[in-house]
Symmetry: C2
Subunit: 222 residues, 2 copies
DNA sequence: GTGCGCTTTACGGTTTTCCGTAAGGAAATA
DNA sequence: TATTTCCTTACGGAAAACCGTAAAGCGCAC
């Protein structure tokens, strides 16, 4: 079993349960941090001392408080960790259950397991840890289990997300076009952007832009 | 101290910590349910047997799964409980930190305390329980503490929420007007609705309807 | 009844979205 | 080089949002 595990979770109520689960699994060293920044520091330090962590268990969303932080969520933490420690196994433990975001975690962030917080998540977490230790890939908690080959949500790319984000900030088509030109993102003609929004509306069965943004918010795309 | 307490919380990770905290407070009877429906049943049964609960601790959001439920969130549960058991004390323990929703809980739902899940929430919860036992009113965990006299967000009423919800579903002004006429909600002229939306846009500093809905979603209004 | 204040509704002009069609341009193919 | 195909952009008309102003409706005091 893993020897040294780091838990990044801000809610005290939840970290208690995670640590208890890790103790049940007879893990020797269990460290816990409440901020992403601290997690990165600990991983750096462990590497320097030649005693790295075997596993990182992290949440996705962290509450912001008075403390100013560099890494504000789990994705940013994982991105930073990947740069300095490609060996460490990564399990995400979060309430998020939107397939789009979870697929990105596996495909772009290279996590080993995703466990959704739910009514029986401690068992699911324990199972995922054991599977990760046995080097299984793309581990999903059983309440989720969607098809990774389903291209549906993977087709939506960062370009679409950029449009949706700007729309949600109240930009008009013209303003989005100018913004894209300024950042040399192509295509950037108002007509092209309009067409792309139209595709999204058809895809999400949205009546208009307002509806589209509401749906995008619900899906956790933005 | 309270003798009999009911905990309504779907996440197993969190309920463990809550129950542990209640045990620390030497509470004799601690019951726990994962669905709002079950909470209402237990409260009903306890009333019938003339051994009612002293305190209900509930979350706001409950995950939906295969089981079909009548009460799908904490607000609905509290509403139902208020009808059958006006005596029971009510503490809401949730991640939500938007003042609008919390104020409604105190003013319209008559809860005794609100504790925000955070980095030190177990202590906050314990303190809130003790204060509620001493009959204190409108107890807030210390990480929140906003001014109840601040009228800002209280001014937004159910009429505004109705408009926002319909907008988010892709309705046009005309359609909203018709919907309101059908449900005899007044005012229902397109012009009046337009004016109201405009107020909301000024209030939330939104550039247009799309922006407004994005903000409303972020605020948890809809 | 009359006048006042407030809310609701109506109206008109401008901007933006909405949606189809078509032109322009670049890469691929023959 | 000519042709096809796909992607990008332009254009134009209808619908809806946007925004200010004016009129109508209504309760209320006098």
């Amino acid at each position: 079993m893993f020897k040294k595990v780091l838990v990044a979770e801000d809610l005290d109520t939840i970290s208690i349960a995670i640590i208890q689960a890790l103790e049940d699994l007879k893990i020797a060293v269990i460290d816990h941090v409440k901020y992403c920044d601290d997690a990165l520091l600990k991983i750096k330090k462990a590497l320097k001392e030649d005693d790295p962590y075997d596993l990182l268990i992290t949440d996705l969303s962290f509450k912001s408080d008075s403390r100013t932080v560099k890494l504000s969520n789990g994705e940013e933490l994982i991105e930073a960790v990947n740069k300095i420690d490609p060996e460490i196994k990564k399990i995400v433990f979060s309430i998020e259950d939107k397939s789009y975001r979870i697929k990105t975690l596996f495909n772009d962030f290279g996590i080993n397991a995703y466990v959704s917080k739910g009514r029986n998540s401690i068992n699911e977490l324990k199972k995922a840890i054991e599977k990760a230790y046995r080097n299984e890939e793309k581990i999903l908690s059983s309440d989720l289990s969607f098809n990774f080959n389903d291209k549906k949500l993977l087709e939506i790319e960062s370009y679409d997300i950029s449009i949706l984000k700007l729309l949600a900030q109240g930009y008009t088509l013209d303003q989005i076009s100018n913004e894209f030109k300024a950042k040399s993102i192509t295509p950037n003609g108002t007509s092209s952007i309009e067409k792309r929004i139209n595709k999204l509306k058809i895809y999400f069965k949205a009546n208009n832009n307002v509806h589209l943004i509401a749906i995008a918010k619900d899906f956790g795309l933005i």
